[in-house]
Assembly symmetry: C2
Homo-oligomer: 158 residues x 2
Protein backbone atom coordinates (compact mmCIF):
# COMPACT_ATOMS: atom_id res chain seq x y z
CA UNK A 1 0.00 0.00 0.00
CA UNK A 2 1.22 3.48 -0.89
CA UNK A 3 2.16 5.24 2.34
CA UNK A 4 0.04 8.34 2.97
CA UNK A 5 1.17 11.01 5.37
CA UNK A 6 -0.79 13.89 6.84
CA UNK A 7 -0.03 16.14 3.85
CA UNK A 8 -1.30 13.53 1.39
CA UNK A 9 -4.50 13.22 3.38
CA UNK A 10 -5.07 16.96 3.22
CA UNK A 11 -4.49 16.94 -0.54
CA UNK A 12 -6.83 13.97 -1.02
CA UNK A 13 -9.48 15.66 1.09
CA UNK A 14 -9.20 18.87 -0.93
CA UNK A 15 -9.32 17.00 -4.24
CA UNK A 16 -12.42 15.12 -3.16
CA UNK A 17 -14.14 18.34 -2.17
CA UNK A 18 -13.14 20.16 -5.35
CA UNK A 19 -11.51 18.18 -8.11
CA UNK A 20 -10.83 21.32 -10.12
CA UNK A 21 -8.91 23.07 -7.35
CA UNK A 22 -5.69 24.59 -8.67
CA UNK A 23 -2.30 23.34 -7.53
CA UNK A 24 -1.85 26.70 -5.88
CA UNK A 25 -5.02 26.21 -3.79
CA UNK A 26 -4.10 22.62 -2.97
CA UNK A 27 -0.68 23.76 -1.86
CA UNK A 28 -2.16 26.48 0.33
CA UNK A 29 -4.45 23.92 1.99
CA UNK A 30 -1.55 21.58 2.69
CA UNK A 31 1.00 24.26 3.60
CA UNK A 32 3.07 23.53 0.52
CA UNK A 33 4.42 25.53 -2.39
CA UNK A 34 2.53 25.08 -5.68
CA UNK A 35 5.38 23.08 -7.19
CA UNK A 36 5.58 20.70 -4.22
CA UNK A 37 1.79 20.25 -4.20
CA UNK A 38 1.93 19.57 -7.92
CA UNK A 39 4.57 16.91 -7.46
CA UNK A 40 2.61 15.15 -4.71
CA UNK A 41 -0.67 15.22 -6.61
CA UNK A 42 1.04 13.73 -9.64
CA UNK A 43 2.54 11.03 -7.48
CA UNK A 44 -0.84 10.20 -5.92
CA UNK A 45 -2.28 9.84 -9.41
CA UNK A 46 0.60 7.75 -10.73
CA UNK A 47 0.43 5.49 -7.67
CA UNK A 48 -3.28 4.94 -8.36
CA UNK A 49 -4.47 6.43 -5.07
CA UNK A 50 -6.50 8.92 -7.09
CA UNK A 51 -8.22 6.80 -9.72
CA UNK A 52 -9.83 9.72 -11.48
CA UNK A 53 -11.59 13.04 -11.20
CA UNK A 54 -15.18 13.12 -12.35
CA UNK A 55 -17.94 15.69 -12.62
CA UNK A 56 -21.10 14.89 -10.64
CA UNK A 57 -24.39 15.78 -12.31
CA UNK A 58 -27.81 16.67 -11.00
CA UNK A 59 -29.99 13.64 -11.87
CA UNK A 60 -33.10 15.69 -12.63
CA UNK A 61 -31.11 18.01 -14.90
CA UNK A 62 -30.21 15.10 -17.18
CA UNK A 63 -33.75 13.73 -17.27
CA UNK A 64 -33.55 11.22 -14.43
CA UNK A 65 -36.88 11.58 -12.66
CA UNK A 66 -36.60 8.36 -10.71
CA UNK A 67 -33.89 6.11 -9.36
CA UNK A 68 -34.41 2.47 -8.53
CA UNK A 69 -32.45 -0.36 -7.03
CA UNK A 70 -32.86 -3.53 -9.02
CA UNK A 71 -31.86 -6.52 -6.91
CA UNK A 72 -30.98 -9.55 -8.98
CA UNK A 73 -30.72 -13.19 -8.06
CA UNK A 74 -28.84 -15.24 -10.63
CA UNK A 75 -29.74 -18.71 -11.85
CA UNK A 76 -26.17 -19.93 -11.50
CA UNK A 77 -23.07 -18.66 -9.75
CA UNK A 78 -20.39 -19.69 -12.16
CA UNK A 79 -17.70 -17.20 -13.01
CA UNK A 80 -19.09 -16.95 -16.55
CA UNK A 81 -22.62 -16.15 -15.41
CA UNK A 82 -21.37 -13.51 -12.97
CA UNK A 83 -19.09 -11.86 -15.51
CA UNK A 84 -21.71 -11.96 -18.21
CA UNK A 85 -24.39 -10.33 -16.08
CA UNK A 86 -21.93 -7.76 -14.72
CA UNK A 87 -20.93 -6.70 -18.23
CA UNK A 88 -24.54 -6.50 -19.31
CA UNK A 89 -25.55 -4.36 -16.36
CA UNK A 90 -22.62 -1.99 -16.88
CA UNK A 91 -23.43 -1.64 -20.55
CA UNK A 92 -26.93 -0.30 -19.92
CA UNK A 93 -27.12 3.48 -20.28
CA UNK A 94 -29.51 3.65 -17.32
CA UNK A 95 -27.04 2.01 -14.95
CA UNK A 96 -25.58 4.34 -12.33
CA UNK A 97 -23.88 1.74 -10.15
CA UNK A 98 -23.45 -2.02 -9.90
CA UNK A 99 -22.67 -3.94 -6.74
CA UNK A 100 -21.91 -7.64 -6.47
CA UNK A 101 -22.87 -8.70 -2.97
CA UNK A 102 -23.35 -11.66 -0.65
CA UNK A 103 -26.81 -12.65 0.56
CA UNK A 104 -30.02 -13.79 -1.05
CA UNK A 105 -29.55 -11.38 -3.95
CA UNK A 106 -26.37 -11.45 -6.01
CA UNK A 107 -26.33 -8.07 -7.70
CA UNK A 108 -27.71 -4.67 -6.89
CA UNK A 109 -28.03 -2.37 -9.86
CA UNK A 110 -28.92 1.27 -9.24
CA UNK A 111 -30.54 2.75 -12.31
CA UNK A 112 -31.69 6.21 -13.33
CA UNK A 113 -34.86 6.38 -15.39
CA UNK A 114 -37.33 9.00 -16.58
CA UNK A 115 -40.39 7.59 -14.83
CA UNK A 116 -42.08 4.39 -13.72
CA UNK A 117 -42.94 3.43 -17.31
CA UNK A 118 -39.30 3.65 -18.21
CA UNK A 119 -38.45 1.55 -15.15
CA UNK A 120 -40.94 -1.17 -16.05
CA UNK A 121 -39.65 -1.29 -19.63
CA UNK A 122 -36.09 -1.49 -18.38
CA UNK A 123 -36.86 -4.29 -15.91
CA UNK A 124 -38.78 -6.31 -18.49
CA UNK A 125 -36.52 -5.72 -21.48
CA UNK A 126 -33.07 -5.61 -19.94
CA UNK A 127 -33.34 -7.86 -16.89
CA UNK A 128 -36.08 -10.48 -16.90
CA UNK A 129 -35.21 -11.43 -20.48
CA UNK A 130 -31.65 -12.37 -19.47
CA UNK A 131 -30.94 -16.08 -19.05
CA UNK A 132 -28.66 -15.36 -16.04
CA UNK A 133 -31.51 -13.78 -14.07
CA UNK A 134 -33.57 -15.99 -11.75
CA UNK A 135 -35.40 -13.34 -9.76
CA UNK A 136 -35.78 -9.57 -9.61
CA UNK A 137 -36.77 -7.33 -6.78
CA UNK A 138 -37.07 -3.65 -7.49
CA UNK A 139 -37.03 -0.89 -4.89
CA UNK A 140 -37.57 2.80 -5.52
CA UNK A 141 -34.75 5.04 -4.31
CA UNK A 142 -36.19 8.08 -2.54
CA UNK A 143 -32.79 9.59 -1.99
CA UNK A 144 -29.23 8.62 -2.70
CA UNK A 145 -26.23 10.46 -1.27
CA UNK A 146 -22.62 9.69 -2.08
CA UNK A 147 -20.05 10.63 0.55
CA UNK A 148 -17.68 13.20 -0.92
CA UNK A 149 -15.04 12.58 1.70
CA UNK A 150 -13.50 9.20 2.24
CA UNK A 151 -11.48 8.96 5.39
CA UNK A 152 -8.11 7.30 5.33
CA UNK A 153 -8.77 4.40 7.68
CA UNK A 154 -5.15 3.44 7.94
CA UNK A 155 -3.79 3.78 11.43
CA UNK A 156 -0.24 4.90 10.71
CA UNK A 157 -0.01 8.56 11.60
CA UNK A 158 2.99 9.53 9.53
Amino acid sequence: MFPLDRTDRVLLHALQADGRATVKELGAAAGLSPSAAHERVRRLQRAGVVTGVHAALDPSAVGIGLQALIQVQLTRHSRETLASFREHALSLPETLAVAHVTGAMDFLVRVGVRDSDHLRDLALDAFTTRPEVARLETAIVYEHVLATHWPVVTRDER
Copy 2:
Protein backbone atom coordinates in the same frame (compact mmCIF):
# COMPACT_ATOMS: atom_id res chain seq x y z
CA MET B 1 -35.37 21.67 -16.62
CA PHE B 2 -32.29 23.29 -18.15
CA PRO B 3 -32.30 22.55 -21.89
CA LEU B 4 -29.26 20.52 -22.96
CA ASP B 5 -28.23 20.34 -26.58
CA ARG B 6 -25.79 17.98 -28.28
CA THR B 7 -22.83 20.24 -27.44
CA ASP B 8 -23.75 20.33 -23.75
CA ARG B 9 -23.94 16.56 -23.71
CA VAL B 10 -20.46 16.28 -25.18
CA LEU B 11 -19.12 18.70 -22.58
CA LEU B 12 -20.85 16.83 -19.75
CA HIS B 13 -19.51 13.54 -21.03
CA ALA B 14 -15.97 14.93 -21.19
CA LEU B 15 -16.23 16.43 -17.71
CA GLN B 16 -17.45 13.13 -16.30
CA ALA B 17 -14.56 11.28 -17.90
CA ASP B 18 -11.97 13.84 -16.80
CA GLY B 19 -13.04 16.54 -14.40
CA ARG B 20 -9.66 18.25 -14.64
CA ALA B 21 -9.79 18.64 -18.43
CA THR B 22 -8.86 22.15 -19.52
CA VAL B 23 -11.35 24.41 -21.24
CA LYS B 24 -9.20 24.08 -24.34
CA GLU B 25 -9.56 20.27 -24.32
CA LEU B 26 -13.28 20.47 -23.60
CA GLY B 27 -13.69 22.87 -26.49
CA ALA B 28 -11.77 20.60 -28.83
CA ALA B 29 -14.01 17.66 -27.85
CA ALA B 30 -17.16 19.68 -28.52
CA GLY B 31 -15.87 21.46 -31.63
CA LEU B 32 -15.88 24.81 -29.87
CA SER B 33 -13.36 27.55 -29.24
CA PRO B 34 -11.93 27.62 -25.71
CA SER B 35 -13.85 30.77 -24.86
CA ALA B 36 -17.17 29.32 -26.02
CA ALA B 37 -16.52 26.08 -24.14
CA HIS B 38 -15.64 28.07 -21.06
CA GLU B 39 -18.88 30.01 -21.24
CA ARG B 40 -20.96 26.85 -21.60
CA VAL B 41 -19.21 25.01 -18.78
CA ARG B 42 -19.75 27.96 -16.48
CA ARG B 43 -23.40 28.04 -17.43
CA LEU B 44 -23.79 24.32 -16.75
CA GLN B 45 -22.27 24.85 -13.32
CA ARG B 46 -24.34 27.92 -12.51
CA ALA B 47 -27.51 26.14 -13.63
CA GLY B 48 -26.69 23.29 -11.24
CA VAL B 49 -26.40 20.65 -13.96
CA VAL B 50 -22.86 19.99 -12.77
CA THR B 51 -23.17 19.75 -9.00
CA GLY B 52 -19.46 19.32 -8.39
CA VAL B 53 -16.20 17.74 -9.46
CA HIS B 54 -14.70 15.19 -7.13
CA ALA B 55 -11.62 12.99 -7.04
CA ALA B 56 -12.28 9.24 -6.87
CA LEU B 57 -9.92 7.21 -4.70
CA ASP B 58 -8.79 3.61 -4.74
CA PRO B 59 -10.45 2.03 -1.67
CA SER B 60 -7.52 -0.22 -0.82
CA ALA B 61 -5.08 2.69 -1.07
CA VAL B 62 -6.88 4.49 1.75
CA GLY B 63 -7.07 1.42 3.94
CA ILE B 64 -10.50 0.11 2.97
CA GLY B 65 -10.05 -3.63 2.82
CA LEU B 66 -13.74 -4.45 2.84
CA GLN B 67 -16.97 -2.84 1.77
CA ALA B 68 -20.35 -3.81 3.15
CA LEU B 69 -23.95 -2.93 2.57
CA ILE B 70 -25.77 -2.42 5.85
CA GLN B 71 -29.50 -2.68 5.30
CA VAL B 72 -31.53 -1.01 8.00
CA GLN B 73 -35.14 -1.33 8.98
CA LEU B 74 -36.37 1.49 11.16
CA THR B 75 -38.64 1.20 14.17
CA ARG B 76 -40.81 4.08 13.05
CA HIS B 77 -41.24 5.96 9.79
CA SER B 78 -41.86 9.44 11.03
CA ARG B 79 -40.06 12.29 9.35
CA GLU B 80 -38.00 12.80 12.50
CA THR B 81 -36.83 9.21 12.69
CA LEU B 82 -35.89 9.18 9.02
CA ALA B 83 -34.01 12.47 9.22
CA SER B 84 -32.27 11.52 12.41
CA PHE B 85 -31.03 8.19 11.07
CA ARG B 86 -30.01 9.74 7.76
CA GLU B 87 -27.89 12.37 9.53
CA HIS B 88 -26.32 9.78 11.75
CA ALA B 89 -25.42 7.50 8.84
CA LEU B 90 -23.92 10.40 6.85
CA SER B 91 -21.88 11.50 9.85
CA LEU B 92 -20.02 8.19 10.14
CA PRO B 93 -16.54 8.33 8.63
CA GLU B 94 -16.98 4.80 7.27
CA THR B 95 -20.06 5.73 5.24
CA LEU B 96 -19.50 5.79 1.49
CA ALA B 97 -23.13 6.13 0.39
CA VAL B 98 -26.61 6.25 1.87
CA ALA B 99 -29.80 5.31 0.07
CA HIS B 100 -33.33 5.72 1.37
CA VAL B 101 -35.44 3.13 -0.39
CA THR B 102 -38.86 1.47 -0.50
CA GLY B 103 -39.29 -2.16 0.50
CA ALA B 104 -38.74 -4.20 3.62
CA MET B 105 -35.57 -2.30 4.45
CA ASP B 106 -35.64 1.48 4.75
CA PHE B 107 -32.02 2.46 4.36
CA LEU B 108 -29.02 0.99 2.63
CA VAL B 109 -25.70 2.23 3.91
CA ARG B 110 -22.57 1.28 2.02
CA VAL B 111 -19.57 1.43 4.31
CA GLY B 112 -15.84 1.05 3.84
CA VAL B 113 -13.97 -0.71 6.66
CA ARG B 114 -10.55 -2.19 7.29
CA ASP B 115 -11.67 -5.75 7.90
CA SER B 116 -14.46 -7.88 9.34
CA ASP B 117 -13.57 -6.91 12.91
CA HIS B 118 -13.98 -3.28 12.00
CA LEU B 119 -17.30 -4.11 10.34
CA ARG B 120 -18.63 -5.91 13.39
CA ASP B 121 -17.60 -3.06 15.67
CA LEU B 122 -19.26 -0.58 13.33
CA ALA B 123 -22.51 -2.55 13.14
CA LEU B 124 -22.68 -3.04 16.90
CA ASP B 125 -21.54 0.44 17.96
CA ALA B 126 -22.99 2.70 15.30
CA PHE B 127 -26.14 0.87 14.18
CA THR B 128 -27.68 -1.59 16.61
CA THR B 129 -27.27 0.90 19.46
CA ARG B 130 -29.45 3.47 17.68
CA PRO B 131 -33.06 3.75 18.90
CA GLU B 132 -34.27 4.29 15.30
CA VAL B 133 -32.97 0.90 14.19
CA ALA B 134 -35.29 -2.11 14.37
CA ARG B 135 -33.33 -4.61 12.31
CA LEU B 136 -30.01 -4.87 10.49
CA GLU B 137 -28.96 -7.05 7.60
CA THR B 138 -25.38 -6.83 6.47
CA ALA B 139 -24.07 -8.00 3.11
CA ILE B 140 -20.45 -8.03 2.00
CA VAL B 141 -19.76 -6.10 -1.20
CA TYR B 142 -17.46 -8.13 -3.46
CA GLU B 143 -17.29 -5.39 -6.04
CA HIS B 144 -18.79 -1.96 -6.49
CA VAL B 145 -18.60 0.00 -9.72
CA LEU B 146 -19.91 3.53 -10.21
CA ALA B 147 -20.84 4.51 -13.75
CA THR B 148 -18.65 7.38 -14.87
CA HIS B 149 -20.95 8.35 -17.68
CA TRP B 150 -24.54 9.30 -17.08
CA PRO B 151 -26.59 9.44 -20.22
CA VAL B 152 -28.92 12.32 -20.77
CA VAL B 153 -32.23 10.49 -20.85
CA THR B 154 -34.18 13.46 -22.11
CA ARG B 155 -35.69 12.90 -25.50
CA ASP B 156 -35.37 16.35 -27.03
CA GLU B 157 -32.58 16.25 -29.60
CA ARG B 158 -31.72 19.93 -29.71
